[in-house]
């Protein structure tokens, strides 16, 4: 069943039409959410206008962690079923994941200056997120080096699995440790953000998620095409 889905030809048949849908759908939702977040919501009673940064910061944080979740799942699938498409999916998730982690750190810092009175503090949440960003960079370098040396992708996949250690630490850092960062506002069942402020977040969150999907598909297609070129070159050189 998994092999049927993981056939590159079948993958491209689905990915080609899906890419523009995710791309433009994501852009539309994101821009609407950002516009609504900037103009259609009241300021917060304490933070004032800076609360609007949350519409970008929270989705970036979720996708920064979501990117590693997809690297971990794809690496797991690759290690068990050895399917090359899983390897490509893991590699394609790394750059957008790192980018969203960086956006999360940058927007958080810009929010922290007026709210906390500091750009940066070495508290548990901030430090573990920064660590995740560096782990992304290490994974990107490792996966690139592995591919260039003709490796089979097993070492980056093992690294992808091992890096999962950070995800629960980031998530529970604000519960387990005293941190400067506030506790979670959103859990599966309840929210401590008033609905008047919360609603644009649904748009930016879904917009960023669709864009993340579009980026992963585009990068997978680029990797697939590059692999095809390389294989053909090798055959031509041999002939």
């Amino acid at each position: 069943m998994i092999h049927a889905l993981a056939n590159p030809v079948r993958f491209l048949k689905i990915a080609r039409p899906l890419t523009p849908i995710l791309l433009f759908g994501g852009l539309g939702l994101l821009l609407f959410g950002a516009w609504a977040g900037l103009t259609r919501t009241p300021p917060d009673y304490l933070q004032g206008e800076t609360v609007r940064i949350l519409y970008l910061h929270v989705p970036a944080a979720w996708l920064g962690m979501g990117g590693w979740t997809s690297i971990a799942i794809a690496s797991f699938a690759f290690l068990v079923w050895r399917h090359p498409l899983a390897n490509l999916a893991a590699r394609a998730s790394a750059v957008p994941g790192a980018a969203f982690a960086a956006i999360c750190l940058a927007t958080g810092s810009i929010w922290g200056r007026p709210t906390w009175g500091t750009w940066w503090q070495w508290d548990g949440r901030l430090t573990s997120m920064l660590l995740l960003f560096f782990v992304y960079l290490a994974y990107i370098a490792l996966a690139r080096a592995d591919a260039q040396r003709g490796g089979d992708g097993r070492i980056p996949a093992l690294f992808g699995l091992a890096g999962t250690v950070l995800l629960p630490i980031i998530r529970y850092s604000v519960i387990w440790w005293n941190t400067l960062h506030q506790g979670q506002s959103l859990t599966l069942t309840k929210s401590t953000i008033d609905n008047a402020i919360l609603w644009p977040l649904a748009f930016t969150l879904s917009g960023f998620s669709l864009l993340f999907g579009a980026i992963v598909l585009m990068r997978m297609r680029a990797l697939l095409a590059a692999g095809k070129v390389e294989a053909r070159m090798r055959r031509m050189a041999a002939a």
């Binding site: 940064i53 980026i215 070129v229």
Partner: protein, 42 residues
């Protein structure tokens, strides 16, 4: 302190960064798929 300066900076960084990574991925895909197509035609 004016809060809007911080909000603007955050939106420039957030939306600009997202736009940049989308554009870079799209250009990389187009370049790679064109190269593959050209090689097939030859």
């Amino acid at each position: 302190m004016n809060h809007w300066a911080f909000v603007t900076a955050a939106y420039v960084v957030g939306l600009g960064g997202t736009g940049a990574i989308v554009l870079q991925s799209w250009l990389a895909m187009r370049r790679a798929e064109r190269a593959a197509d050209e090689l097939r035609r030859r």
